[in-house]
């Protein structure tokens, strides 16, 4: 019996409520003798809660592996992040707020500049000089007006930032793996969308036709006269949280990618009026009676971490701390505060460092320590090592798991 089937068989429904608060990129490192954002922040409410909670630290994927937001969130939602891979095209589409059906193909596109040479299209600039987003929007509009359908397949282009866009193909029999057309280097010819699996023949044919049509539309331009396609993918065949854990899950998140990820695992994603933590907490209170699992996502800890702005990260933690009393009034049966991955300010990017975890329920061993910090978490008493293991504990502490064996 594998882990997933174990939970599928042993989870039960009850009315206890679990609240998982993900402060994106929260984990930090001290830069030798310095302090982390959690160590600097003035956060009396979180610290008071930490002393009656269990503290711990979890590796998002495996020790040393720095994850993107996709796999690290899947792990927090209780899914093996090495089993369920989310394609780049799908993730990009989710990030743009595009609704995907399981049969859709999502593709990351770049506007690029090519020249014809000996019957081939040679890439001159993979990013078409990073055209402004406004130009990108016009080009996508043009492509949408000229290319609506190929054979029986609907096509739609959605602009992203600068030269980046997403193409979605919607139709029957679109499946299999197809190679990127991006040669990754300038001076090389654009590659064909070669099928990598036998069932991908049809998809490959559609893509060839699509590329021919795009070339017709763009070829006379001097710059941004063609596209490169990457991460051609479908949403993974992933069981819902309801199927696996008998939960009625709700996502409260502002950013499209996290909203999209939540939909992938069958969460109901509610709209937040506004973008602040206070706005999110307001929405949480409104929907509190309608679900039994709540994922609340706070983005800005990660954004400031990516910018190398330790002070900004501290401010977000303090903002969250001020919102915490309102959250506690809801009396969640299980409350977990953690992150999907660390984003240390001195690294200015995601990292592999274990995520601090504050785990609160009536059934914990209270840590007794009066500060929620990475160091206290690394020495904590929460006896798990990986993000994916937290779901079992959340279910157990809320009475949602039956006994294993007699």
């Amino acid at each position: 019996m594998d882990r997933e089937n174990l939970f599928r068989e042993m989870s039960i429904k009850n009315d206890k409520k679990i609240l998982l608060i993900v402060m994106d990129g929260l984990g930090d490192i001290p830069n030798y003798h310095g302090k982390t954002a959690l160590e600097i922040a003035n956060k009396p409410n979180l610290d008071a809660l930490s002393s009656i909670s269990e503290l711990g630290a979890v590796n998002p994927i495996l020790p040393g592996i720095t994850p993107g937001s996709g796999p690290s969130h899947l792990a927090l939602f209780g899914y093996d992040p090495l089993k369920y891979e989310i394609g780049r095209g799908v993730l990009e589409a989710l990030g743009l707020g595009i609704e995907l059906k399981p049969s859709d193909i999502a593709i990351r596109g770049n506007f690029c500049t090519v020249k014809e040479e000996g019957g081939k299209l040679i890439v001159v600039d993979r990013r078409a000089g990073r055209i402004p987003t406004s130009e990108n929007q016009k080009l996508c509009e043009l492509l949408n007006s000229k290319i609506k359908i190929i054979d029986d397949v609907e096509v739609s282009f959605t602009p992203g930032m600068e030269h980046r866009f997403v193409v979605v193909l919607r139709g029957k029999n679109l499946k299999g793996q197809v190679e990127d057309t991006d040669p990754q280097k300038e001076g090389l010819p654009v590659r064909d969308p070669v099928p990598l699996t036998p069932e991908a023949e049809y998809l490959s044919e559609i893509l060839k036709k699509l590329l021919a049509r795009i070339w017709e539309v763009l070829r006379d331009r001097e710059n941004a006269n063609f596209v490169l396609l990457r991460g051609i993918s479908q949403i993974p065949d992933i069981p819902s949280m309801t199927e696996l854990f008998k939960l009625s899950p709700c996502a409260i998140a502002v950013y499209p990618m996290y909203r999209g990820l939540s939909k992938l695992v069958g969460m109901t994603v509610v709209d937040v009026d506004g973008e602040t933590i206070e706005d999110e907490v307001k929405k949480l209170k409104e929907v509190w009676d309608s679900f039994d699992f709540f994922y609340l996502h706070i983005k800005k800890t990660d954004s400031y971490g990516e910018d190398g702005n330790l002070t900004g990260k501290v401010r977000v933690i303090e903002e969250f701390d001020r919102a915490l009393p309102e959250i506690l009034k809801l009396k969640p049966d299980v409350l977990v505060v953690t992150c999907d991955h660390s984003t240390p300010a001195i690294i200015k990017g995601h990292s592999w460092h274990p995520c601090p975890v504050l785990f609160h329920s009536p059934y914990v061993f209270p840590s007794g320590v009066d500060r929620f910090t990475e160091r206290n978490c690394l020495r904590g008493t929460l006896k798990v090592s990986y993000s994916v293991e937290l779901m079992g504990l959340m279910l157990a502490h809320s009475g949602k798991l039956i006994k294993f064996g007699a």
Copy 2:
């Protein structure tokens, strides 16, 4: 996606340098109220380093499993020690400094004493009374002069200590698994080299002919008049550290077995002039610019542990401590000091106890504790449980892994 393929896909080359120092058998236990070698040793440099490093403790294989040097080193080199088994014959050959080709068959041999009875050879003494090594050497010389080739297969005998030797078969089509001929008990007949897999038929035939020739040569002796063969094996089909981790690895070790193990995983093994830790560090400095991963092996902590000589173990640690400042001058980007397994002096042998780990890089949570001891390590903040997990951290802390997923 399994762990190995994950690292194969995600590792990248850069010029950061990793130094893995393995103090063989370093881990110790306190014998109730006593102290371990690390607790007794006067080691100001290691202790100072420990306060700005992360401390941890790792199981070499699985909790409770006492490993030999082969699997425990494989784990430290980043290989699943349960996936890649190194045959006993191969390990014995490496220990004698024999160079093996992938197609060679290596076999552990014992000189034994047998008697003929009812057409069978019955084992009277499995070790031929533990003949002196000098006699063993003469017998191997004799066998080498009388038996050079069997069909198209070259044969060579290399003496070990007392009654032990190694036979290497070199030729084509030697493969598959063959049963030991050692019945493990005296009074039983010598067993046939029965093929355990279909492709081993030919190897089994060669071994039968080899045994007949050995019997011809030795049968008239009173003692040590035959041999028993065990651990008939080939070097495992193991990807190199360059293939898996994109490293240019270098081994600095004095003892043949560790040099041989390093070759198995594709390390460049350099010669050390002398046998002391100082000699090894001198070599390390000489080759520092030529590689990006260095495995430096210190043997004597294990040797004294095996002898039950705690004071000797302490002396080796102190000797290493005096060499540490010279090592630190090289400014490795990642420095790890650990052991392959524990060899507690009161056990006089390898044990299953977790190995203390000192992990140093700019991206750690400094332990703040001022002593590198097993007790501090067991309560440390390094969030890994197994030796094999250290490689991921060494690669991450030196920037040699790309992000997983988007």
